[in-house]
């Protein structure tokens, strides 16, 4: 890692993928816990990369990183967008014990969100939510009585 911009703090914009130090990981853990009631495993390594939509957070469970130019590392866990954490589909799958911002959905509703469709919603949740049906999980955003799909194009069914 080679830039002067590597002194990373959550919320500070950076231009390349950088491993978070223990203080940053703690800050990320607090943010995700307050939003979703889920505590991340602080023993894993976390990386952040700035992209247009926000700061992408990656989890790496490997035990070493070779000294080589990397195209991708670990699993995209989610993205920090204007200080809110939006889990990725696979991040949501890892957050099985999350107990806040959980939308208990039917399998049909999960399928609709995975098709990119909007579903009706009358509960009190707002912002990013994890839609869950048993072990199936995906991600949506609640706005004006609807849940919008946040399924990326490449994952649509």
């Amino acid at each position: 890692m080679r830039s002067k911009e590597l002194k990373v703090r959550i919320g500070i914009r950076i231009k390349m993928r950088k491993e978070l130090n223990s203080k940053d990981v703690e800050e990320l853990a607090v943010k995700i816990e307050s939003q979703f009631g889920f505590r991340i495993d602080e023993k894993l390594k976390y990386f952040v990369k700035e992209e247009k939509e926000g700061e992408k957070i990656f989890i790496f469970s490997g035990n070493r990183i070779p000294n080589i130019q990397v195209e991708w590392i670990g699993l995209h866990f989610g993205t920090l967008i204007q200080n809110e954490f939006q889990p990725s589909i696979d991040g949501a799958f890892l957050m099985q014990t999350a107990n806040k911002k959980i939308l208990q959905a039917s399998k049909k509703e999960i399928e609709e969100l995975m098709k990119g469709s909007v579903i009706d919603y009358s509960g009190g949740l707002t912002g990013f939510v994890i839609a869950r049906h048993k072990d199936l999980a995906c991600v949506g955003i609640v706005k004006e009585g609807k849940v919008g799909s946040l399924t990326p194009k490449s994952r649509l069914i």
């Binding site: 989890i59 469970s61 799958f93």
Partner: protein
């Protein structure tokens, strides 16, 4: 798919008639049909029982692949089920599942998949490693990296690093990996059941060019193995030049290389075609109603110490 005499590549036919002898007709006959579809359950996200329940609910006939405990034959399209996009299973040629199993990676080890896209074997390796250790998945072609990353993410793999390097120049990692999978670019004859262009475009000249590249990749990969490390060399093709001759090249150039026997219950195969490569697996498409593969398992032995 139907190969008529007119469509058939005569150079391909005469090469394979000589190579396969009495098996030639069965081999060519098998190219008329699509291979049996199969999926591999992704144990990083779910269990075989859970996916069997999904298949049952969707009225999809299925059965166990004998040589892979996570493998299931399926009788219809499973691409558009929500469980597929959520990474519960990977649609994969059943015979290719044997390649990652032959490598036997363990949790915590350093593993290199040198030609990793689109990621069927890399995601299988990560599952066998239980997301522990380090899996370096390399792919030289930038367009194919997108497919590799998509599959790594979909399958919930968190111990992988993806790199874009020329595999031949991997010597910076001398003696760094416990296990290496080298599934090289090849003439793809084992996939001719699903892609008729493979037969149309086949030529001896192409095979010779690929063989030269495969030999270079094989020596570069072998150099990355730790002492007592294991390398699996595999192709999805039939030619002697891309299979037995590459393995013989490794054994000749690397004095500490030893071929190990591979055995899978229920997988029909035959031995390598030369004396030195007898312990390799040669799998033709008609053996298992699946793809054709060649698999060799090579150990880098510890140097013999003088007493």
């Amino acid at each position: 798919m139907h190969y008529t005499t007119m469509e058939f590549n005569q150079e391909f036919a005469s090469y394979h008639r000589k190579l396969l002898g009495g098996e030639f007709e069965d081999f060519v006959g098998s190219l008329r049909f699509k291979p049996k579809s199969a999926i591999r359950v992704n144990t990083l996200k779910t269990s075989v029982e859970r996916v069997e329940k999904v298949l049952y609910e969707n009225k999809i006939e299925h059965g166990k692949v004998p040589w892979c405990s996570e493998g299931l034959w399926v009788d219809s399209d499973v691409l558009n089920l929500v469980e597929h996009q959520l990474g519960f299973y990977y649609i994969q040629d059943a015979v290719s599942m044997a390649v990652s199993l032959a490598l036997e990676p363990k949790p915590g080890e350093s593993v290199l998949d040198l030609c990793a896209a689109p990621g069927s074997k890399a995601t299988h390796l990560a599952a066998l490693m239980q997301n522990k250790g380090c899996l370096l998945a390399n792919e030289q072609d930038y367009r194919r990296i997108r497919a590799l990353v998509y599959n790594i993410q979909r399958c919930g793999v968190s111990n992988a690093i993806v790199t874009k390097q020329d595999g031949v120049k991997f010597d910076q990692f001398s003696e760094k990996f416990d296990r290496i999978l080298l599934d090289v670019p090849c003439s793809d004859v084992g996939r001719a059941m699903s892609n008729r262009e493979v037969v149309r475009d086949w030529s001896k000249g192409k095979v010779i060019r690929l063989s030269a590249l495969q030999k270079r990749l094989a020596l570069a990969a072998y150099n990355c193995l730790k002492e007592d490390g294991i390398m699996v060399y595999s192709t999805c093709t039939t030619s002697l030049e891309e299979n037995e001759q590459v393995v013989e090249h490794i054994l000749h150039e690397c004095k500490d290389a030893r071929l190990e026997r591979i055995k899978f219950n229920g997988l029909q195969s035959k031995k390598g075609l030369t004396d030195k490569t007898y312990d390799c697996l040669r799998i033709l498409p008609h053996y298992n109603n699946s793809g054709g593969y060649f698999v060799a398992k090579i150990r880098r032995c510890a140097p013999i110490k003088n007493k």
